[in-house]
Amino acid sequence: EAGVTQFPSHSVIEKGQTVTLRCDPISGHDNLYWYRRVMGKEIKFLLHFVKESKQDESGMPNNRFLAERTGGTYSTLKVQPAELEDSGVYFCASGRDPREQYFGPGTRLTVT
C-alpha cells in the first residue's frame, strides 16, 4: 500500500507569490489533515477534512491559506500571498480511523 505522498518536496518562492501544495492520501482514507512546523516550533494542526468536507479548520492561521479537497481524494493547500513567516514544513496526514494518522514526508516551504 502506497503511503501519503506530498508534492513538491521543497518549494522556494518570493514574498507575495502564490504556492500550492498537494497531498495524496492513502487510498480509502476519508480523513485528511494538514499540519505545519515552523522552524524551532512544534508541529501545529491546521485543518481536518472528512472526505471533501472541512471538519475542523480552527488551526488555519489566516485567510491567506486556502485548503481544498475536491472529490474527497487529494487535497491542496494554497498560500496567497506568501509571507516570510509562512516558511516551514507542511505535513499532510490521512487515516481511515480519526485516531490513526499516517504522515507524509512533508513539503519544505521557503519564502524569501
Partner: protein
C-alpha cells in the same frame, strides 16, 4: 486547551544503552496519546499509541510507552538503542472531540533529538 511538554530538546545515549524520553500532557480527560519518530529526510512514523486499557503499550522497533494518569505522563522507553534510532521523537495528544471518539487534530510536543554515541 490541551498541551504536550517534552522537556528534553536533545538526549545523547550510547549504543546499546537504555533510553527513556519524557512526555507530559495537559488535558481535561483521558486523551489519545501517540509517539512519532522522524528520521532525517523522512516523514513522521507512528511508533505506538494509547487509547485505553493496558497502560503499557508496545510499539514498533522495540519501543514501549507507559501511560501514567497520576503523573499525566506517557514516557517512551527502549531497553537497548541502536545507531539507527537516531532521529527526532514527537509525543502527541488527541482529544475525544466528536461523539464518534475521533482524535481530530493532534497537539504535538516540540520534539526530542536523540543522538546515539558509538
Amino acid at each position: 486547551a490541551q498541551s504536550v511538554t517534552q522537556p528534553d530538546i536533545h538526549i545523547t545515549v550510547s549504543e546499546g544503552a537504555s533510553l527513556e524520553l519524557r512526555c507530559n500532557y495537559s488535558y481535561g480527560a483521558t486523551p489519545y496519546l501517540f509517539w512519532y519518530v522522524q528520521s532525517p529526510g523522512q516523514g513522521l512514523q507512528l511508533l505506538l499509541k494509547y487509547f485505553s486499557g493496558d497502560t503499557l503499550v508496545q510499539g514498533i522497533k522495540g519501543f514501549e510507552a507507559e501511560f501514567k494518569r497520576s503523573q499525566s505522563s506517557f514516557n517512551l522507553r527502549k531497553p537497548s538503542v541502536h545507531w539507527s534510532d537516531a532521529a527526532e521523537y514527537f509525543c502527541a495528544v488527541g482529544g475525544r472531540k466528536y461523539s464518534g471518539g475521533g482524535a481530530d487534530g493532534l497537539t504535538f510536543g516540540k520534539g526530542t533529538h536523540l543522538i546515539i554515541q558509538p
